[in-house]
């Protein structure tokens, strides 16, 4: 038995010696690398290769008509800086993130509090409320398209009851209503995601601490910010990060509801990249945009993660 050496880097069992070390055979020594090899190969093929390839193509000048693979430097990046449609799509994406994310968080938290204490049939409620989350986003979009139909959809009908007269809102066409329409669909689908995670996190908060704080005369808000929030923060941070990343790539719901229209008014980065790449076949230009998005994303994620660690 040889603990230590090339294969001795096993993790010791809790409280026990690292018996899981056996440096006898050569096959043993490379075992851990063979185990990660296939997964790494697949991830490299689909994760790293496209990014590098994107970078290379972005410095060439490929279009549908032209297969120009000579080096053009940063030509497309310079064009991107002056492309108002690109910056607008970035702005639209940003709007969806900063409106939908807090809304989902607040509604999700409110729902989590609603179901936190004992409630008969809670399991059934939770099981039903999760259904939007596991619906395909494109199907969710299609469903809301049926709901928002100006004539045969139920939403204008319901609004009409309150207004006392027929409401003829063109939800997916009228520039004043496309944002609310997309946001409603998006918030409907993902609030239950926040709800589920926050409910689990709230259930794990130490009740005795809350009771002690309340005995000391702390109000709901004070108890929440001092005791509950720090306790649920790790889960909340993950939930917010996952949703922020998902909203940043928002595509399906918009594709189903407006396809970026009217005009380009609801075009997100994903929609614009799709139009450029697969409808206008601007290969190199799309690649430059894709690479720029990767850089923007990498920088923001690094900053956010650092920020969250400081706050914790």
């Amino acid at each position: 038995m040889n603990s230590g050496g090339a294969t001795g880097e096993t993790v010791a069992g809790p409280g026990g010696p690292a018996l899981l070390t056996r440096a006898s055979q050569a096959a043993d020594r490379n075992f851990k690398y063979w185990m990660i090899f296939p997964a790494v190969l697949v991830i490299l093929l689909i994760g790293l290769f496209p990014v590098i390839y994107t970078l290379i193509v972005s410095t060439q000048n490929l279009t549908m008509m032209d297969e120009d693979t000579t080096f053009h430097g940063l030509m497309h990046y310079r064009a991107l800086l002056e492309d108002a449609r690109f910056w607008e799509s970035l702005l639209h994406t940003f709007i969806f993130v900063v409106v939908a994310l807090p809304a989902e968080l607040i509604f999700g938290l409110a729902m989590a509090y609603l179901f936190l204490e004992r409630l008969p049939g809670r399991q059934i409620f939770v099981a039903l409320l999760v259904l939007p989350v596991i619906t395909s986003p494109i199907i969710a979009g299609a469903t809301w398209r049926l709901l928002f139909d100006n004539r045969f959809g139920p939403i204008n009908q319901i609004l009409g009851w309150f207004a006392g007269e027929p409401v003829p809102i063109l939800w997916t066409v009228d520039p004043n209503f496309v944002y609310p329409a997309i946001l409603i669909a998006e918030i409907w689908q993902w609030t239950p995601f926040m709800f589920l995670l926050l409910l689990a996190a709230l259930s794990n908060v130490d009740q005795s601490q809350i009771e002690a704080a309340e005995l000391d005369g702390a109000g709901f808000w004070r108890t929440f910010t001092r005791i509950v929030l720090p306790a649920i923060w790790p889960v909340m941070a993950i939930a917010v990060l996952i949703r922020a990343l998902d909203l940043f790539r928002l595509f399906d719901v918009i594709w189903a509801l407006t396809r970026g229209g009217p005009g380009t008014s609801t075009e997100t980065i994903s929609i614009y990249a799709y139009v450029l790449g697969f409808q206008q076949f601007e290969t190199s230009y799309t690649s430059a945009m894709a690479f720029l998005v990767i850089v923007i994303l990498a920088v923001s994620i690094t900053l956010i993660l650092r920020r969250m660690e400081i706050d914790r």
Partner: protein
């Protein structure tokens, strides 16, 4: 005090029902449209529940062969889930027990999950044209496997770390090879985690739209892409949209309902230990 508490419970109960109704209404509406006759779908004011439950809208999908897209989704989601689970659990075992690659490797794996599909779909498309993988099962299976791997590795690492080491150690002492330990000890022990993780891997592949939109033409069209084929200019084929959506959504609802207890850990990347 007691009356006050009873009132609070009633109020919460009413609120809970109201919230649930609001969140379920879109799904209810979709289901009802799928059972309506064309006259009921295009009635004004809208019909809130159909006169009778009739399956003509579904029958059309079966007759025209549109349900083949459900089969395509089934093949692609199942095979890619099996691949991702197997390769991912191998990798997770290596990370969990040998700290292969250290923190850097674990973080790098997870960072791959953060890449927006739209950023890589274009080079993937060009690669697939070269490989002849556009509109083939293998193309989407490889893609979904790769896209799910970071998730599987991350989740399974957590589950494997929770398995006590003693069993693996005694199997080694008994003369098992490392591979046998993995297959005969770790794999069965991690079963609960495998199911939980596989559900979400499957749901991702089943629901995915943008890759499927770009990388399929007609042979392996998945059901979400098929639904968007019914959107068209002025006349939407509402009945088909609704019936096809129901066919693709109900199996997922049932699967997740059966695996309810794994749900929270699964969708939170293991942030909440269940």
């Amino acid at each position: 005090m007691r009356a006050d508490k009873g009132l609070g419970l009633t109020l919460r109960y009413v609120t809970a029902i109201a919230v649930t109704v609001v969140f379920l209404f879109p799904i209810y509406w979709l289901a009802m449209i799928s059972f309506k006759t064309p006259e009921e779908i295009f009635a004004f004011p809208p019909v809130w529940w159909p006169e009778s439950i009739q399956f003509a809208n579904y029958a059309v999908l079966f007759k025209d062969g549109d349900v083949d897209t459900i089969w395509n989704s089934m093949v692609i989601a199942t095979v890619s889930t099996v691949c991702a689970m197997f390769l991912g659990t191998m990798c997770a075992y290596s990370i969990a027990r040998f700290r292969t690659g250290g923190n850097f490797f674990a973080d790098w794996v997870l960072s791959n999950r953060m890449i927006p599909p739209i950023v890589i779909v274009f080079p993937i498309f060009l690669l697939y044209v070269q490989l002849g993988w556009v509109d083939t099962y293998v193309g989407l299976i490889v893609l979904y496997t790769a896209f799910n791997l970071p998730y599987v590795i991350w989740m399974m690492r957590g589950y494997i770390q929770d398995i006590p080491l003693e069993l693996e150690e005694s199997a080694l002492v008994d003369g098992c090879s490392r591979w046998q330990v993995f297959m005969k000890v770790v794999w069965p022990m991690a079963r609960g985690g495998l199911f939980a993780t596989a559900v979400f891997t499957f749901v991702f592949a089943w629901n995915e739209f943008i890759f499927a939109l770009v990388l399929t033409r007609s042979d392996v069209t998945t059901f979400p892409v098929q639904v968007t084929h019914y959107f068209g200019g002025q006349s939407n084929f509402w009945a088909k949209i609704a019936a096809m959506s129901m066919l693709g959504t109900v199996p997922i609802f049932i699967a997740v309902a059966l695996l309810q207890r794994f749900l929270v850990r699964g969708i939170s990347l293991g942030a909440v230990k269940g």
